[in-house]
């Protein structure tokens, strides 16, 4: 089958296509016997000195079981391999341990994927997390939302360095190895793009919770406290801001108040127990718990301490909030408390009246979520939802509440309160103060309408 037909560009990204094509190629060579190449020493490390003759033997000996995986990858969802489904898995051996090469993949029956908002530019674009099917509070690394301004660079960690300079006593540079030698810290927290929900100010626009809220994700992040690095270089008197700069083609920059940098900022190299994903800033990113996503500079290469903010494009032209009086708010960095029901949510259809557990996520950039209330009648009455513990500050918090849908029309809403006493506002409350042109920081209560036929739609209620 011609390559392009088998792995159509519309269905497969370049990486998946490449992976699939490579596997098919291996299989083809094996089946063909590749006689002229049989005795070659395969690549050191990859094959550990085994010859292709051995490999071929292995392939033939195990037949279908092992190699169906490669064969059918193209049809499996991204991140999965299609394995043969045994008619009765109790009556034959399952596939062999480590046939995944030692790095597991998800089930071939799971299909959640990030969805790219159709920006005109592919280089400056964003993809959103499928919150509807999420469980617990951790976002799988492969489903963490993305926002890139110039694509995803591939950076060799051996050559990557972080330079700290500016108003410091001793400018320093650190290799990745240096950074990994320093005392580390791990914490679970959300990152939310302040543009999350930007399509929803005026009227309900996107149908799904992925579209309306999918620019927030939670991971466990590991790295070095930025304060550790700043103490090593020594801050000069008057140091008030710090510029963080990425090594992507946008050389993305944001100014961060030094108090935040010294408080809970992390220079992170790991996410959910392994190295950062490339699209999350491999090998190094800034993490500013509770701050808008754009400030968590990925592919971090430089930190410059100064007395003033740098007024980069991302904190003037963008990520500023235009108010009705024509003035724009700048450095609106904290993400205010927000919650959303992820199940049931937009574009689902409840199959029949009966019991449903309503569940969703709540979070606040100012600390812990203390309460989530849920309404099933468009805000007329509220019931308090249970929070899955432990509730962590600046972290997604899972809430749940039982509900029996009677088959009548309903409007589901959630409203959270954080430890500062802040109550998640309604959209009219927000619009009343901010108008319709502030783009960023929409944290209003979300409404899902349930029709009598069970159809769930995004509404403003």
């Amino acid at each position: 089958m011609p390559r392009n037909k088998r792995f159509s560009a519309s269905r497969y990204g370049p990486t998946e296509r490449h992976m699939a094509e490579s596997l098919v190629e291996i299989e083809r060579q094996m089946l063909a016997g590749a006689p002229d190449k049989e005795d070659c020493e395969c690549k050191e490390g990859m094959f550990n000195g085994l010859t292709r003759r051995n490999m071929l033997a292995g392939g033939i000996a195990l037949g279908g079981a092992a190699f169906t995986a490669g064969q059918a990858t193209a049809d499996a969802p991204p991140g999965a391999f299609e394995h043969r489904v045994q008619p009765d898995p109790t009556k034959e051996q399952g596939r062999t341990i480590l046939d995944d090469g030692g790095y597991g993949s998800r089930s071939q029956f799971e299909n959640e994927v990030r969805w790219r908002y159709p920006t005109a530019s592919l280089d400056s674009s964003w993809s959103m997390t499928p919150l509807a099917s999420g469980h617990g509070v951790i976002t799988p690394s492969g489903l963490h939302f993305e926002r890139h301004h110039a694509g995803i660079p591939a950076i060799d960690p051996k050559t990557h360095e972080l330079i700290l300079h500016g108003m410091v006593d001793e400018p320093m540079r650190f290799t990745m190895d240096d950074i990994k030698r320093l005392p580390a810290v791990s914490r679970i927290c959300f990152i939310e793009c302040s543009g999350n929900g930007l399509t929803e100010w005026d009227e309900p626009t996107l149908k799904t919770v992925q579209g309306t809220h999918g620019l927030t994700s939670t991971s466990e992040w590991t790295g070095v406290r930025l304060s550790t690095l700043l103490e090593m270089v020594g801050l000069s008197d008057g140091a008030a801001w710090i510029l963080a700069e990425g090594a992507d083609a946008a050389v993305l920059t944001r100014s961060v108040p030094i108090d935040k940098a010294m408080d809970d900022a992390i220079v992170a190299y790991a996410q959910n127990g392994e190295a950062l994903r490339a699209e999350q800033g491999y090998p190094l990113r800034l993490l500013l718990p509770g701050y808008e996503g754009n400030t968590h500079i990925k592919w971090l290469r430089r930190l410059e301490v100064s007395d003033k903010p740098f007024m980069t494009r991302e904190e003037t032209s963008k990520y500023t909030d235009l108010m009705p009086d024509g003035m724009a708010r700048q450095f609106s960095l904290e993400m205010e408390a927000k919650s959303v029901i992820t199940f049931p949510s937009g574009a689902m259809k409840l199959p029949r009246p009966g019991f449903y557990e309503i569940t969703g996520l709540a979070w606040s950039g100012r600390g812990k979520v203390t309460k989530v209330e849920v309404s099933t009648d468009g805000g007329a009455t509220w019931r308090e939802a249970a929070l899955d513990g432990p509730v962590l500050p600046k972290c997604h918090t899972r809430f749940r509440i039982p509900w029996t849908w009677t088959g009548e029309e309903a409007v589901l809403q959630s409203r959270t309160v954080d430890e500062t006493g802040y109550v998640q506002p309604t959209l009219p409350e927000l619009v009343d103060v901010r108008g319709l042109n502030s783009v960023y920081h929409l944290n209003a209560i979300q409404s899902w309408h349930i029709a009598q036929d069970g159809e769930v739609t995004n509404v403003h209620a």
Binding site: H18, M19, S22, E25, I26, K43, E44, G45, M46, N48, L50, A57, G58, G59, A66, F67, A69, G70, I97, L98, D99, G101, G102, T119, A120, S121, A150, I163, H165, P171, M172, R173, T175, M176, D178, R181, M232, A249, V251, T253, R301, E304, K308, M311, T312, R313, T316, S317, G326, M327, R329, F331, E336, A337, V417, T420, V423, L430, R434, H441
Partner: protein, 230 residues
């Protein structure tokens, strides 16, 4: 033992997804590997070798004594190393590099390296997401405000800084400081923020002095503005 080997073989086949796999002969011309190799096998049981402790790049690690908890990592960054990547420019002109450029030179740079995306009249191109660069003054309170360099940006340094680091989108960071001064003069001239006389020149000094129309259009974050009490 035999079955173990077999499963190992399959394992390896499955792991082999990199571009190098189909290439049997490693010739001189082959580009260097840009993927990690699997951890080495060690010991009687073919275990995978663990990561090795990262090594500090520091020239000296200081006193080795149990009470010294100095990290001994990292190296001093020299002025030269910093200068190589310290490209930011601040509103007061700090960081702007030496050099200069005129409106006329900028017109040339613009037509050759920017117009294809941002349009001959700096009107932008929605189909490729290239923003409109000028116009929109006085629209910030409208139902549909037009936010451009001219109408919205508070500092000229941001224009220099951003174009220098990130534009043109198809060849970011490819313009010389002179070219960026020139194209900034052109954009600001077309925006009627500075003179559009062909000889109008921008350099570190004059650029920092440009007063942008919306310079006073920003306030710091006053939130929480709603929802503060219940």
């Amino acid at each position: 033992m035999f079955t173990r080997k077999l499963s190992l073989l399959c394992t390896l086949a499955m792991a082999a997804t990199g571009p190098g796999i189909a290439q049997e002969n490693s010739s001189e011309s082959e580009p260097p590997r840009t993927v990690a190799e699997l951890p080495e096998r060690i010991g009687e049981y073919d275990e995978r070798a663990p990561m090795q402790p990262p090594a500090s790049s520091a020239q000296s690690v200081g006193d080795i004594n149990p009470d010294n908890l100095e990290f001994g990592v990292g190296q001093p960054a020299t002025d030269e190393q910093i200068a190589r990547i310290d490209i930011d420019a601040m509103p007061d002109g700090r960081g702007l590099p030496p050099g200069q450029g005129t409106y006329a030179e900028g017109e040339e740079v613009y037509s050759q390296t920017c117009a294809a995306c941002h349009g001959a009249d700096l009107e932008g191109n929605k189909d490729i997401g290239a923003p409109k660069l000028i116009g929109g003054r006085g629209t910030l309170t409208d139902a549909k405000p037009v936010k451009t360099v001219e109408s919205y940006w508070p500092y000229a340094s941001t224009l220099f800084d951003y174009v220098h680091r990130a534009m043109p989108m198809n060849a970011p960071g490819s313009l010389s400081a002179d070219e960026v001064y020139a194209v900034s003069a052109y954009v600001l001239g077309r925006a009627d923020i500075i003179s559009d006389d062909p000889d109008t020149t921008l350099d570190a000094d004059t650029l920092a002095k440009v007063k942008m129309p919306n310079a006073d259009g920003f306030v710091s974050d006053p939130r929480p503005d709603v929802g503060a009490t219940k």
